[in-house]
């Protein structure tokens, strides 16, 4: 195709034409979403035929706003973030034409929920040490191992999965990436309860799970390169959200301060304002990151945003408890809930404090993010590596 990609004006014309042909009030939700995908108005920067029109990613926001204003149903992006933010870009970058056609449409519409089978009990920060084995058997692979920290595994139809296919070569070289059918025999999902009492996550046990070779993403032994693409997108997804001033956790505490004069103290005031300044600086940094993303591709700056987000959430939620004093000693509910998304605002201050502790662990610990900044951004020499040239099977574990 030689036609130029559509500009903002052209996109608005297409949205208007689409809405004229598919009245949101009259069209069934799934039909509407499928048609929107087929019209290339799902994610406009994706290629034609795969839900997009090859337009600049920056134009997506205007399209979303136009649909929202028309009262159109959306695909509940907050509930399918792993699919949209991680699986989709990876499938787009490494999938075969057939895989892209099979998976992307129901992924975007939310008909098929995705989860991520990466971390293992012995492979957290050092993800490349993972030991879930995939053994080839003709046109199929047999997979056995344990994965952990899998959100949505209990809801998911598909998973992106990284496995060890060659234990005899150094760890980064012996991995292969698959799409795993979560309904396949041998896949067992168990809730993983966290310190808040709830279980957002799961442990996933894979026992002789058969995966057809046509569900492999990328070449055999190329799993690390594929996984790296997924992870860069995860860090952006966690750190780079748009927020208004006082939008995040800081807004909870500024609200408390304004509403409850009896809680005010000089010490609390000083602390609150310090954190307000830091939160606003982080918010503007996030905004700047998003503007960079709109014109380029995700870079290591995403690591800085997530680092600041985790630290601020922890400090602000800690301050909230201290301002509340005795009231902060109360909790709302220790029962093992199964939430599908983290909602900091609708739970108690104690929940916010505890849940925020996960922010510096999940999706790359703050320690690993600092290494990334020090080494990739600042170009400082890396840690002395003892595992680079050692076959995976000989690594101390």
């Amino acid at each position: 195709m030689s036609t130029a990609p559509p500009d903002a004006e052209e996109l608005q014309r297409r949205v208007a034409a689409f809405l004229a042909a598919h009245d949101p009030a009259e069209t069934e939700r799934l039909d509407f979403l499928r048609a929107r995908f087929d019209a290339g108005l799902a994610w406009v920067h994706y290629p034609e035929g795969l839900g997009g029109l090859g337009a600049p990613v920056a134009l997506q926001h205007g399209v979303d706003v136009a649909f929202h204003r028309a009262g159109a149903p959306d695909n509940h992006p907050e509930a399918i973030g792993i699919g949209l933010g991680m699986a989709a870009p990876t499938i787009l970058a490494f999938g075969t034409e057939e895989q892209k056609r099979r998976f992307l449409r129901p992924l975007w519409t939310g008909e098929e929920v995705w989860c991520q089978l990466f971390s293992e009990p012995g492979a957290g920060s050092d993800l490349a040490a993972l030991g879930t084995r995939a053994v080839r058997d003709g046109d199929s692979w047999t997979v056995t191992g344990q994965k952990v920290w899998t959100s949505m595994a209990h809801e998911a139809r598909w998973a992106i999965l990284v496995t060890r296919t060659d234990p005899d070569v150094p760890k980064h070289r012996g991995m292969t990436y698959f799409v795993c059918d979560m309904h396949a025999p041998g896949v067992e999902v168990r809730p993983l309860r966290q310190i808040t009492g709830e279980a957002e996550f799961n442990e996933v046990f894979l026992t002789d799970v058969a995966i057809p070779d046509e569900h492999r993403l990328g070449e055999v032994g190329e799993g690390w390169r594929v996984a790296t693409t997924t992870l860069m997108n995860e860090r952006v997804a966690i750190g780079g959200r748009a927020a208004p001033r006082e939008g995040g956790m800081i807004g909870v505490v500024t609200g408390l301060w304004r509403d409850r004069p009896e809680l005010r103290t000089p010490g609390g005031h000083e602390e609150l304002l310090k954190l307000w300044v830091q939160a606003e600086a982080a918010r503007l940094t996030g905004e700047r990151l998003r503007q960079q993303l709109a014109v380029g591709s995700p870079g290591p700056e995403g690591s800085a945003a997530k680092l600041a987000f985790a630290r601020l959430n922890q400090q602000i939620s800690g301050l909230e408890l201290e301002l509340l004093g005795s009231e902060g000693l109360r909790y709302d509910d220790w029962t093992m809930r199964r939430p599908t998304e983290v909602d900091f605002t609708r739970r108690s201050p104690g929940y916010r404090y505890l849940r925020a502790k996960g922010n510096s662990i999940e999706g790359g610990t703050s320690e690993i993010l600092r290494n990334i900044i020090a080494e990739r951004v600042l170009g400082l020499p890396g840690e002395i590596r003892v595992d680079k040239d050692v076959p995976w099977k000989d690594l101390p574990k």
């Binding site: 957290g124 902060g328 000693l329 709302d332």
Partner: protein, 355 residues
């Protein structure tokens, strides 16, 4: 200068207690207890009574063991290490100190473990903070007091009123359990409706003495908790491998733990000073207790937060003890006043006005 060391008797007391608590209050049992209806571990409380630690600070003439608050502080350290769900701080320290100050007849009953008492104030009440407004009329009390620590575990509630401190039979009150951030020391909301009480002391002196003793010795609990967090984190970092190396070989983590160890060493000196001043009635007690809270609260919270963070994912799970320590550490930082409150108090005591 106060004696900042541990004596031989204290070392023996510690080792006996630790052995017992390892058996009777291992963390899996403590964790399981947080999901039970019982407000505290009554069987463990009986053991503490049998070995006589409830009587430590009480003079022999009042049915006590005639030791001092210094030995009691060692008990607090060990109970803090174990995050043991018993009303020791509330009954054996705060209520006992208040009743000792009042010279009340309940002292021997607390020392002998026959009865358990708690001071009926919100757990966040600092020694110099306003007290809840309970009304009295003809020896009967009415009012509501929220967030009382161990309210459900107590037989007797010591209720401050404008007339003075009253002892109230817990059975005559309405006590509502509170889902607490720290389920190893649970809160209860208390309602008094024309409830009969016995006047224990006039004025606020007994209440203030109880809260000051609590602040001074809570620091020892925080110290024990912080030490436990450091210990298990160090042990984990020696055995957890990532990138082919023990995680503890990374300088980024090593330096943080070295800093934490330094802070804990300071916390030990500060906590010992507070316990010693309380034991001897030293003139520095007002500053020592406030300093202890301003310092040890933050050390314990940092130790518990580092414990979670350095354990990585496993430290964020329910099936690991780190969250028991984190919840206790943060709750302790709010208990009896926050570090920020204590800094402001310190400013007054030291004549360092804010402006």
């Amino acid at each position: 200068m106060s004696d900042l060391l541990y004596g031989e008797i204290e070392d023996d007391l510690r080792s006996g207690l630790r052995g017992m608590l390892d058996q009777r209050a291992a963390w899996p049992e403590v964790l399981a207890g947080t999901e039970k209806d019982e407000p505290s571990d009554a069987a463990l409380w009986d053991v503490l009574d049998e070995i006589g630690v409830l009587a430590l600070p009480v003079p022999e003439a009042q049915g006590g063991a005639g030791a001092s608050w210094r030995e009691t502080a060692v008990v607090m350290e060990e109970l803090g290490r174990a995050v043991a769900p018993v009303p020791f701080l509330t009954s054996a320290v705060i209520a006992t100190a208040a009743l000792l100050a009042a010279g009340d007849e309940l002292v021997p009953q607390l020392a002998s473990g026959d009865r358990t008492a708690v001071l009926a104030v919100p757990f966040g009440t600092a020694p110099d903070a306003p007290l809840p407004a309970v009304r009295t009329s003809g020896g009967r009390l009415s009012g509501e007091i929220r967030d009382v620590a161990d309210a459900l575990a107590a037989d007797v509630l010591l209720v401050p009123t404008p007339d003075g401190l009253y002892a109230v039979d817990a059975a005559d009150t309405t006590r509502t359990p509170v889902i607490s951030l720290d389920m190893t020391r649970r809160l209860g909301d208390l309602t008094l409706a024309d409830t009969p009480g016995r006047l224990v002391a006039t004025g606020e002196e007994a209440v203030r003495a109880g809260l000051t003793a609590g602040a001074a010795l809570l620091a020892s609990e925080q110290l024990g908790l912080a030490e436990r967090c450091l210990e298990i984190t160090v042990a984990y970092l020696k055995t957890r491998y990532q990138f082919g190396r023990p995680v503890g070989s990374y300088q980024g983590l090593k330096h943080r733990l070295a800093d934490l160890w330094t802070s804990i060493s300071e916390a030990r000196a500060v906590a010992r000073h507070a316990a010693s001043c309380l034991a001897t009635g030293d003139a520095d007690l007002p500053v020592a207790a406030v300093l202890a809270q301003a310092h040890c609260s933050e050390v314990a919270v940092r130790a518990a937060e580092e414990c979670v963070q350095m354990h990585g994912g496993i430290g964020f799970t329910w099936e690991h003890p780190a969250h028991l320590y984190l919840k206790r550490a943060k709750a302790d930082a709010l208990a009896l006043g926050t570090p920020s409150h204590y800094r402001a108090t310190l400013a007054r005591l030291l004549d360092l006005p804010p402006s």
